[in-house]
Symmetry: C2
Subunit: 362 residues, 2 copies
């Protein structure tokens, strides 16, 4: 078992990575802490992994709340169902929510934990690669609004992230690839050596070789943990982890939540961010091509859908990084390093988007 500590003082917690952890009764007992438990999961994941968890939690009072599966259900209405389950089960402020599933489940369950009785504890039990390497770590929780991704939410740190790598065995191919988009993003933001490692070991990852997956998860979590520890509330450096996401969120919202997987939209967004950085002279063209090539080898979309520049710019205007009317963009400046900047020509952004996504004219 790997252990990474996210150092946030009294809000700090461990990220534990290993095969079979959802069945480790002693480990779970540590983080269940004698509390009344509510597992929040979805109709796809629960049949696969809830039995293992239930067996390990035998003897604990443990209810469940199963939500429909998919980004299109990451809404205020679905959040209300978690509150209904908590109230119906008469859970008190000392209860604990267990989020068993992918990023959508983690985000909804974490947000429910942030708000129920003004804050209860929760544990992340991510079952998708994307959730394991990215969304379960760092305490960003929330739901979507029809007008934009993650517009409603809270910073609320879990008390632990427990990653059972066995869960990747049941993950659909498309979701595995989507998770790799966030792995590649992490390397591109913070670790050139890891990026080179990914170029070398991508085949093993796609073949789900356990040692390679464990190593990729560990290194991606370490990058994220270091950045979050330095900037929990995204006053600065943490925004770098949004590389590709301003474009990606616009794609997801533009297509309708649930059409493309989050990781797929991020992949196309990484290509747009990288191309734009190269065009503005922030990044050399060879590096930009390495990024595109790696994403393509991972089977991810490297071309944005034809939403049109006007629509894309309007959607990007809802990004949480807009300040005083100016959209700050995260741009890579080298493999392993990114910046958050308003130092780019607005006209160049519009023309790149017109080339890559169309003008929006019929």
């Amino acid at each position: 078992m790997h252990r990474i500590d996210l150092r946030l003082g009294e809000r700090g917690y461990p990220i534990l990575i290993g095969a079979g952890l959802l069945g480790d009764a002693a480990l779970l007992a540590t983080y269940a802490a004698g509390a009344d438990l509510l597992v929040v999961s979805n109709e796809t994941v629960a049949p696969l992994w809830l039995p293992r968890l239930r067996t390990a939690l035998a003897g604990h009072r443990c209810g469940e709340c199963l939500l429909p599966d998919g980004e299109q259900y990451k809404t205020l209405a679905t959040l209300g169902r978690v509150f209904d389950a908590l109230v119906a089960g008469r859970y008190n402020r000392d209860c604990r929510i267990l989020a068993l599933g992918g990023g959508v489940i983690g985000d909804i369950a974490g947000f429910a934990a942030a708000c129920y009785q003004r804050g209860v504890d929760f544990v992340q039990l991510p079952t998708t690669l994307l959730a394991q390497v990215d969304s379960s770590v760092g305490g960003k929780t929330g739901v979507n609004h029809p007008g934009g991704k993650n517009l409603i939410g809270a910073f609320h740190q879990p008390v632990a992230v427990i990653i059972d790598t066995d869960t990747l065995g049941s993950l659909p191919e498309r979701e595995l690839r989507a998770g790799l988009a966030e792995v590649i993003k992490a390397a591109l933001v913070g670790d050139a050596a890891f990026f080179a490692w990914l170029e070398e070991h991508l085949g093993e990852l796609l073949a789900r070789e356990p040692a390679a997956l464990g190593e990729a998860i560990r290194r991606a979590c370490q990058i994220k943990a270091d950045i979050v520890a330095a900037d929990e509330r995204e006053q600065g450096e943490r925004a770098l982890l949004n590389l590709g996401h301003t474009f990606g969120h616009a794609i997801e919202t533009g297509l309708g939540h649930g059409q493309w997987l989050h990781g797929e939209a991020v992949a196309a967004g990484l290509v747009l961010a990288t191309r734009f950085a190269a065009r503005c002279g922030h990044l050399d063209h060879t590096a930009a091509e390495r990024v595109r090539a790696l994403l393509e080898r991972a089977g991810l979309p490297v071309a944005a859908p034809p939403l049109g520049a006007t629509r894309m710019l309007a959607l990007m205007g809802m990004d949480k990084k807009v300040r005083a009317g100016q959209l700050r963009l995260v741009l890579p400046v080298a493999i392993g390093r990114a910046v958050c900047t308003t130092d780019y020509p607005a006209a160049a952004l519009a023309s790149l988007l017109a080339e890559e996504t169309g003008t929006g004219e019929p």
Copy 2:
């Protein structure tokens, strides 16, 4: 103008009390801070006080979101309407919400501010006595669930509380009296001299004598500010401000939110808490009678509705102060001092509730 500073380090803020403050352009400019503004108010308050505010804010970009009036609308669904207004108006993370209204508006607008883009600034502009002396101060925000009051929410401090005492001129009599319940509660929890002052000056308060109202607001806010500064997240002492509220919330939920005003339920709750404290030997009977008499003179209900002991106990079990299955009660031990305790006989609580609210048998 009175000024009280709530000392919470970087989350600290001023509470400003005076006649005409909603029309003070210079003051509002300080706390509007050049941001895009959204006023959240309701259909009762807006026609009365929004024009004064709009005039003072001339030149600012300022949208509005008007909600229906009443505790029964303090729901997740109404909260969604504030998010819709924020997204439709393309508000960014550096926007600022102005909560113009009573406790319901302050709680909803503050919770929306806590969650929109994971947290934006807001200013409390309370227009009811209850909101001015209690709910606008201290950063508790949230909405109700059909199963209980304020079960969904966040701690999110405003950047200022601006109390225009002129607004009390348009307050319905019933709401003025409801606000006095929280004033009496504050005195009972923290300031015996203020309690005696209230006994002496109640007539002036009911006659809406401005100097008396200003003094009552100032002293009640000071008591609350001191307690919140010592215990922002209610780990200890802050729970004392919930005196009467465990009973009161059960009454509100039991009758259906919006039937009794919050302050009315708190008044009946204060009588129950006081009687129970006297019965358990925590409080002398003379003091208990002083509390009941003052509430009665204020025209507040001093008898609980006949919900029945079984129902009351079930509703009280959803209280946020339940820990490890044990309901902690706030009980007065003297005029000006209360404790939060599990040191009471459960049977005595059940029998008091049976006497005061009926057995629930037909």
